[in-house]
């Protein structure tokens, strides 16, 4: 992003701040969520039940079709070649040998690709989906090591792969910035995230730090991480006349349809993207080069194309989490009160994306302090665009912050939980907004009791044979977001069946299941009378499955549609109904129909209303108000994480022996799928703590471990029993009282593990991952 873009974003941010102040001062009742969702009171329905995934049998039986499983007539298979230099130009691509391979249909390069516009970069438009906005196959320029430079289409995948290996590509290299130190030496730039400068100053934090009787001031580092969803990124595309059909693995179908329309100069309605099943998203299943290449190549050969990235391909084409260097300094008085909270540092970033890993977000809301200095700077490198990965900002920001608090607690001689609770703010420490919900103390106390925290031993005092044993805690946090653009359609049939249509996503987390439960309660129908349609760009709504915001976005959209439905039903019911005279606010769904909230005996079934009105179906589409609640209240989820580790005194090997997550995330819609989200996040956090690292060779800007053999993720034996509990206190200002739970699980885990390792060994490791060589 250019300096001009930076400035434009900053100006936008200032305007947003002014609007934000006004929204904060407005009465609660004007706000979305100002009138609590009636479902929050519902205690006897489907919400809160541990319903198994409704698509489980389909998946287990192999009947759920993923993006790379659509077999279209005449389909050809694609294989990609990637650049081996970081910057420069392609001089020549010798395609003769590849084209001579039997079955090869096309070798596409910048020389024969159709002319295309750039992919709109994520966050530059409401529907922009691109992870990177560089031209694709439009010129010979190379911008990162691993950039796709040629695509081979063949009748079989094996033919395409073989032909691809026969391409001979020559380059003219130019100097590139491929080292972090080199990038920083070129100058740092202010980080801007979603229009807001990542720069907070309240009071003089450095002065307050210097004057504080207790201080910690440390540097922490986190490495690059690569996306490794179990399902490889894939798409199957076909042109049907002037329409483009894309079967994608996506967490943003509507964004992708609009963005591909911009790329090919078409109307949005000419592009149809669907993605009913996705094998994990985590922020990586957005619009990258491969969908564009597949669509372009398909256009050239006029045949459907399937493109599945190899595992290496995912590392080369799909951005990951970038590296961070953080400083955390906290000054405290003798009773533990924070006088100063400083969290600053630098992240590596490509100039062609929008994510300066915002690691200061936790420090902006979790603790009170008299002075704050929070800032993220950016150093630009010639590398694959970095992107969102589960809790971007919080996952790595909580590592520095929560380790520093542990260090401070020791310096003061305070229990680290007491120190955290001592600094519980009574309102948002940065914006001053009231909290919508904050059960942090209960969350900590419940967790401590269940884990047995009071039994904690002093540093380096427990040993079982070769194993030093220790325990540690850390806090985690993630905001409640709801993005603009939601919309939902409800189709109610005379026989009492309802269909909910919304362009939302289920990447395996159980969206369809939980939202079917919610719809059942809202409509007063059994679950099997609900069909929840999602994952298709032709459905209403622009709903990103990201930022843990889908639950709220779908909830608010369905509430909006439901209000319209109830209004129409009441009109149709007319004066002969037991519901006569009741307003929309006075009725709710019950027993296959509507009932008075005050007097449930005043009830009429949908079948009765629609039959009397001679209506076969009733269709409504609703759009929720803009998400002003997130500016009026400070809305966040929290976690308290407890970890017990063993560290081998001989080898330095670390084994996590036990882990507990205690969560404050509003009401839990489905304890079964939510627990899996919490555990999955924690497991991903254990990987971040102990083993995950993208080896980026700074000599050439090349990722050297693009494989699950060499890029280590936790295997079963690395994962202990993980206990998860939650407060289950509804957020009165969120739909259903619920927060999304996709990302909170990973936050804080790195620090909980590091703090436990310190308790076991007396060694502070401040750079991730904590591999055994750091503990020898």
């Amino acid at each position: 992003m250019s300096m001009l873009e930076d400035a434009k974003q900053a100006a936008k941010g200032m305007a947003q701040q002014a609007v934000g102040k006004a929204i904060q001062l407005a009465p609660d009742s004007w706000m979305p969520g100002g009138r609590p969702d009636p479902l929050i009171r519902e205690q006897h329905g489907q919400i809160g039940r541990p319903v198994s995934r409704i698509d489980g049998p389909l998946k287990v039986g192999g009947q759920a079709r993923y993006a790379a499983e659509f077999a279209l007539d005449g389909m050809v298979y694609a294989a990609l070649a990637y650049s081996t230099i970081a910057r420069g130009r392609i001089l020549a691509i010798d395609t003769k040998a590849a084209e001579a391979v039997p079955g090869v249909v096309l070798v596409m390069t910048h020389e024969n690709a159709p002319r295309m516009n750039k992919v709109p970069l994520f966050l530059t438009d409401q529907k922009a989906a691109g992870g990177v906005d560089l031209p694709i196959f439009q010129d010979p320029e190379v911008h990162w090591n691993g950039q796709p430079v040629a695509a081979v289409l063949a009748e079989t995948q094996e033919q395409a792969d073989h032909a691809r290996s026969l391409l001979r590509i020559t380059y003219e290299e130019v100097p590139a910035i491929t080292s972090f130190a080199g990038a920083k030496a070129k100058g740092k730039h202010p980080g801007v995230f979603m229009g807001n400068p990542l720069n907070i100053r309240i009071g003089d934090a450095e002065e307050a730090l210097a004057a504080a009787p207790f201080r910690v001031d440390q540097a922490y580092e986190t490495p690059r991480h690569s996306h490794n969803a179990i399902e490889l990124h894939a798409c199957t595309v076909a042109w049907e006349g002037d329409r483009l059909r894309v079967h994608d693995a996506s967490q943003l179908v509507a964004h992708t349809a609009w963005s591909l329309a911009q790329v090919f100069g078409m109307e949005e309605s000419q592009v149809h993207v669907s993605s009913p099943f996705v094998g994990g998203g985590f922020g990586g299943k957005c619009l990258w080069n491969h969908q564009v290449i597949a669509a372009a190549a398909s256009k050239l050969v006029d045949r459907p194309v399937r493109l599945t990235l190899s595992r290496e391909g995912v590392y080369r084409v799909v951005g990951g989490r970038t590296s961070t260097e953080q400083r955390v300094a906290i000054g405290a008085s003798a009773d533990g009160t924070f006088e100063a909270l400083i969290h600053t540092g630098t992240v590596a970033m490509s100039p062609h994306n929008q994510l300066p890993e915002p690691f200061i977000l936790p420090a902006m809301s979790v603790y009170g302090a008299n002075a704050f200095k929070l800032e993220v700077d950016v150093a630009y490198m010639d590398m694959l665009a970095n992107t969102f990965m589960r809790a971007p900002g919080e996952a790595v920001g909580t590592f520095g912050l929560e380790c520093a608090i542990d260090e401070l607690a020791e310096a003061i001689g305070m229990d680290p939980i007491d120190l955290r609770l001592k600094n519980e703010p009574d309102k948002d420490p940065v914006t001053g907004a009231p909290f919508s919900i904050r059960e942090v103390e209960k969350m900590w106390r419940d967790g401590a009791e269940r884990f047995g925290w009071s039994d904690r031993a002093p540093v380096a005092s427990r040993r079982e044979g070769e194993w030093r044993i220790g325990t540690g805690v850390a806090g985690g946090t993630y905001p409640y977001y709801r993005m603009p653009g939601g919309a939902a359609r409800i189709t109610l049939r005379q026989d009492g069946h309802a269909t909910i249509d919304i362009a939302a996503h289920d990447m395996g987390m159980g969206t369809a299941t939980a939202q079917t439960q919610v719809a059942a309660d809202r409509l007063g129908l059994p679950m099997d009378a609900i069909t929840f349609n999602y994952g298709d760009s032709t459905l209403p709504g622009v709903v990103l499955a990201g930022g843990s915001q889908q639950t709220a976005s779908i909830g608010a959209s369905v509430i909006a549609a439901h209000r319209l439905l109830v209004k129409e039903l009441l009109q149709l019911a007319g004066n002969d109904s037991p519901l006569a005279g009741l307003s929309v606010e006075e009725v709710g769904g019950l027993d296959n129909g509507l009932a008075s909230l005050a007097d449930p005996l005043r009830h009429e079934t949908y079948a009765s209303i629609l039959t009397r009105a001679q209506r076969g179906t009733l269709v409504v589409e609703g759009t929720p108000p803009p998400p002003l609640e997130t500016m009026h209240w400070s809305m966040h989820s929290h976690s308290a994480l407890f970890c017990e580790v063993g560290v081998n005194a001989v080898t330095g090997e670390v084994r996590v022996r036990r882990f507990l997550g205690s969560f404050d995330c509003g009401r839990i819609l489905n304890p079964k799928t939510a627990a899996s989200q919490f555990r999955g996040g924690i497991i991903m956090g254990l990987g971040m703590a102990l083993m995950e690292e993208t080896q980026f060779d700074e000599r050439k800007g090349r990722i050297m471990n693009p494989s699950l053999a060499e890029y280590h993720l936790p295997v079963h034996m690395d994962v202990p029993e993980i206990d998860v509990i939650w407060t289950d206190v509804p957020d009165p200002h969120a739909p259903m009282g619920a927060h999304g739970v996709g990302e909170i699980g990973i936050t804080g885990v790195g620090a909980a593990v590091a703090n436990a390792i310190y308790n076991a060994t007396g060694r502070r490791v401040r750079d991730l991952p904590i591999t055994l060589d750091k503990l020898l």
């Binding site: 090591n145 290996s165 080898t651 080896q695 060779d697 053999a709 295997v715 055994l772 020898l776």
Partner: protein
Amino acid sequence: MTPFRYTRAVAAGDALRQGGQAGARYLGGGTNLVDLMRETIERPEALVDVTGLFHAIEETADGGLLIGAAATNTAVAEHALVRRRYPLLSRAIVAGASAQIRNMATVGGNLLQRTRCTYFYDNEGSRCNKRRPGEGCDAIGGFNRIHAILGASADCVATHPSDMCVALAALDATVHLGSTRGDRRLPLTDLHRLPGDRPDVETMLEPGELITAIELPPLPLAARSTYRKVRDRASYAFALVSVAAALEVTDGRVRDVRLALGGVAHKPWRAWKAEEALRGQPATEEAFTAAALAELADALPLKDNGFKIELARRTMVAVLGELAGAGA
């Protein structure tokens, strides 16, 4: 993957004739070779599948064990005589890979595994003297945390990835080889080469030669033996350092010992110097440490792998201490 011919050998003579042809390679479980073919690092013209031959695991006349080269890793690890007489071999095998891979992988193929050096695997983007002799080694100045501390050269710092071979090196195993030119035997410790200036030549096998069996001599002290593997996660990772050891202690003194290291060199590393230093010495931590230091005296660290010297010392001492304690 480059297209190739596939045939399944039905008899030994048939296998050797086909395998002797230019461009042919023998195929065991394919758990490494096929991966390398997918990366186009290996491009054989023909694969001769020998998994139908030499399965048997039999006791030899002198009380040793003859293990057919096509026996799966699982079959060896689970074999009752292996578990009783050579427990370190059983442990080494189950410390490697995953159950699924061990079910496919053969003994012969395991011996011929190629390195996990990431620069070796980066066929298109990195230089490697194994893949293209003479072009240079990008691992030496790059990420070399998993690389060799012993026996490396200026041309190659890769390590041999096998666990099973480390145990076999400690057990004085002999490799049986066949070819159309006749059969021969090699001590396992002589099968693999150090890289020198020809890291592309990894073993002493001649063209067309086929590993037909591994022979374990009778070795009573191996009944008290073990294998310890240190790695970056609890399972499914290659060894940073591994130690295979057998120890016989009489009256507090080391009567005999076998010791080998994995993850430290271009070949499974028999710790001859440490063994020499230990025989006749008291079975104490001091003696174990001295022996380990003797073995590691020539160790040379690279940018990222200096910790392996300390780790190898500690692991050797701990393993020997454990075996000595078990005999007390």
